[in-house]
Symmetry: C2
Subunit: 87 residues, 2 copies
């Protein structure tokens, strides 16, 4: 499964969240990650994220696609992340 | 076409970018938008965004899917945006 993960999290917790997400996914921009992940690993990641998050203020959105080819990625401007193709 | 748009942009230009993106898409989190859009409207949005952006520092990523059903969205924690289904 290919996912895009975006978080919006309090400044104090950003460092830990970044570190956590980097273990499972590729960082592509600011608070945006992408990558192939299994259901099991995703569950693990979500559980660890929830432990970091303040549920009343922090937010995490995960877009899941069964196949990466169903999604086209286009980057306009500066490319930030570790992976990705410049179009 | 269904798209997810994420920007990472200098603070001075954030307000204008937010306003621009809201004209075309639904805001779902911080600097993340989603919605159905035509090729023509997307081109228009990209051109307007590029006029706002500093290309050496700002970045815009667009994920395109021909069909929204190919993407599952899951929100963990607080839901921020205008639309979206809580899973």
């Amino acid at each position: 499964m290919y996912i895009i993960l975006v978080y919006d999290i309090g400044e104090k917790r950003v460092g830990k969240m970044l570190k956590l997400c980097r273990k499972y996914l590729s960082w592509i921009q600011n608070s945006v990650f992408e990558g192939e992940i299994t259901e099991v690993k995703l569950k693990e990641l979500k559980m660890k994220a929830l432990m970091l998050m303040k549920e009343e203020s922090d937010s995490l959105i995960i877009f899941k696609s069964r196949n990466e080819r169903w999604l086209d990625k286009e980057i306009v401007g500066k490319e930030r992340g570790e992976t990705g193709n410049f179009l």
